[in-house]
């Protein structure tokens, strides 16, 4: 059996090996159909089921150059500031999350301190904690700190939610770096901080890259936190615009919705395509407890 597999010339397919492909294709078909639908319905005035009504048009995309003609955008910042806000939100939470995760992950992986096991347990617990249940408590905390309805406040909350996952992932990557390298750096004269910066960080670079992408995407996709904790500000993000289009006015303009939606997810899709090798490693890179 295994000999037969080995003998098969590369590139040729057997009928039996088509079965998994067929199953996978069927399985992913609904998602693919959705993306296709999203794409082409953004270029027609109306869609009934899968049938376009009216001719090909760029009209749905006019929010890019003429936002005043779109009623849902009249009380909001223009599309460029909105995009920039979303970018700042995603990039900041990703950068801060990355910094803290890589430091805490190193500490959990390498240092033996009091309460380490307890804190690791806490990290895992928080990772599986549904954030919605914390909304009211967070609201009180942000109000007390004077950070409610402020960009900084939402960034802090988003980063905090991202940390348990980030710390756990980074700990796994640090766990895989041989002790010898660290001992060697210590003997060579480096302190803990320099060892972390010059030896350990470069060696977990695949993990850092993957985590950076994931945290960025999480920030980009985040809707609930900006929506709840930044209701009035000029610093709204794209996700709240999508919600606005869905929820304001008498009827939902699906053409507009698909165009804005496509605009909103395009960076994420591009990022995933570019970084998929790195992202695979987060799951293949080994996460040890």
């Amino acid at each position: 059996m295994s000999a037969a597999v080995a003998e098969r010339a590369p590139g040729t397919l057997r009928w039996s090996s088509l079965v998994p492909y067929a199953v996978l294709a069927l399985w992913t078909l609904p998602i693919i159909v959705l993306y296709v639908w999203l794409f082409y319905s953004s270029f027609f005035p109306r869609i009934e089921g899968f049938r376009p009504i009216g001719g090909f048009t760029f009209d749905n995309w006019r929010f890019l150059w003429d936002p005043q003609s779109v009623p849902q955008m009249r009380n909001r910042p223009a599309i460029l500031p909105l995009t920039l806000n979303t970018f700042i939100f995603a990039a900041t939470t990703s950068a801060v999350g990355l910094l803290i995760s890589s430091m805490a992950g190193y500490a959990f992986s390498r240092l033996r301190f009091k309460g380490r096991r307890l804190m690791l347990g806490g990290v895992l617990l928080l990772h599986s904690f549904p954030s919605v249940t914390l909304l009211i408590a967070l609201f009180i905390v942000l109000r007390t700190l004077g950070l409610y309805d402020k960009f900084v406040g939402v960034i802090l909350v988003q980063t905090a939610f991202a940390l348990p996952f980030g710390i756990w992932i980074m700990k796994g990557f640090f766990d895989n770096v041989p002790w010898d390298l660290e001992m060697s750096a210590l003997v060579d004269g480096a302190g803990r901080f320099r060892t972390w910066l010059r030896i350990m960080l470069p060696l977990v670079k695949p993990g850092l890259l993957a985590l950076a992408v994931l945290l960025f995407v999480e920030g980009w996709n985040q809707f609930l936190l900006p929506f709840v904790f930044m209701p009035s500000g000029s610093q709204q993000t794209l996700s709240t615009l999508v919600k606005g289009i869905l929820g304001e006015g008498r009827f939902v303009d699906y053409g507009l919705l698909t165009a804005v939606g496509l605009y909103y997810i395009a960076p994420v899709l591009i990022l995933f395509v570019l970084a998929q090798d790195q992202l695979m490693r987060i799951y293949a890179g080994g996460v040890k407890g």
Partner: protein
């Protein structure tokens, strides 16, 4: 440059287990000392305490006239080569070697570059400075690790199983090279090994350890000629020493060791009365001759030709003994041969404690 190293009452406990127990060792300036023992004997733990990576549970470590057991590794003036070489994979060879210097602000860039090239030339990797560790062979990685350990001109060089990741031919080559380098620089060096051949061939003195305790500390020649106890006798020498349980008895004003019908003449009087003894004799001190010659008659059990010599196992009175015979010696399995013990080379150990008694 090179300093004396003294370990006093050095102890390391992991929980309840003593990895190193009350170790006393003193190394002269410029001496090359091997820590030898089976895995789990505490030799690497000892080395890591000297390096400053493990903190001793108790005891003192002195370099020259400095007490160092409380010092951080970077303040001890040591260079170390790890078993895995521990080269930094993301740095070039030059960056690897320069790393210890990079941490010293007082050394200007030009001086640093000069010393990196000097260290690289010393171990002949100066042509590889732009490569990365993954592009090097095991032997080359080993050399780079040596250069990195030596570049900051440490007082003491530590080597953890430096040869165990090399293939046999390269191991032999590096054995000689490390020894030559150590003598050339004259740096006090400690290396850890489980291979008695490495310890004997490279070190000025060998500390044999077992279960965290020092068993013997002597020159290779002394360890070979007068092992302090049965464990050391068994561990040093290849093929290993033969052991026979025997009774020591007086005979004609002299002493003999009786093991069944075997009677082995003793030239040295046992240090104390110990009728229950173990006789040790190395294969190279057991002479095979024609049937009827020598002290006993034996039957050939197996012959293993090794080229330069032959290893011959013989059976005598229910015991199996191993002997080394010259290449010209001809015998088949089942042949009768004569057996002669070299009486001045017989070792006698107390059977209960294993201590040497003659």
């Amino acid at each position: 440059m090179s300093v004396r190293v003294v370990l006093e009452h050095l102890t390391k406990k992991f929980g309840e287990v003593s990895a190193v127990d009350d170790l006393e060792l003193e190394m002269h300036a410029g001496e090359f000392v091997a820590l030898l023992g089976p895995s789990g004997c505490g030799k690497t733990t000892t080395l890591l305490m000297v390096a400053g990576i493990y903190r001793p549970t108790s005891g003192a470590i002195t370099f020259g006239d400095r007490r160092v057991e409380h010092l951080h590794p970077k303040d001890r003036g040591i260079g170390m080569v790890f078993q895995s070489y521990a080269l930094y994979p993301h740095m070039t060879v030059a960056e690897n070697i320069a790393f210890p210097l990079e941490l010293r602000r007082s050394i200007p860039k030009a001086e640093r570059d000069r010393r990196v090239r000097e260290a690289a030339a010393l171990v002949r990797v100066d042509a590889l400075l732009d490569r990365r560790p993954a592009q090097l062979s095991g032997g080359q990685q080993q050399r780079v690790a040596l250069a990195r350990a030596l570049v900051k001109r440490p007082d003491i060089l530590l080597l953890d199983e430096p040869l165990s990741n090399l293939d046999a031919r390269l191991r032999h080559e590096m054995r000689g090279e490390i020894k030559r380098l150590q003598k050339e620089i004259g740096i006090t060096s400690i290396f850890v090994t489980h291979d008695q051949l490495e310890a004997l061939t490279m070190a000025d003195r060998v500390a044999v350890m077992r279960d965290g305790r020092l068993q013997a500390y002597a020159t290779p020649a002394e360890l070979y000629a007068r092992p302090t106890n049965r464990f050391v006798a068994e561990f040093i020498g290849s093929p290993p020493m033969n052991f026979l349980d025997a009774e020591v008895a007086a005979k004609n004003g002299s002493f003999v060791a009786r093991a069944g019908e075997l009677e082995i003449p003793l030239v040295r009087r046992p240090a104390r009365e110990a009728p229950e003894a173990t006789v040790g004799i190395r294969p190279e001190h057991l002479e095979l001759g024609a049937p009827g010659e020598g002290d006993a008659s034996a039957e050939v059990y197996i012959v293993e030709p090794m080229g330069r010599e032959q290893i011959v196992d013989v059976q005598v009175g229910g015991h199996r003994l191993r002997a080394i015979a010259p290449p010209g010696f001809r015998a088949q399995i089942g042949d009768r041969v004569g057996l002669r013990f070299a009486p001045e080379r017989i070792h006698l150990f107390d059977r209960a404690s294993g201590e040497r008694i003659a």
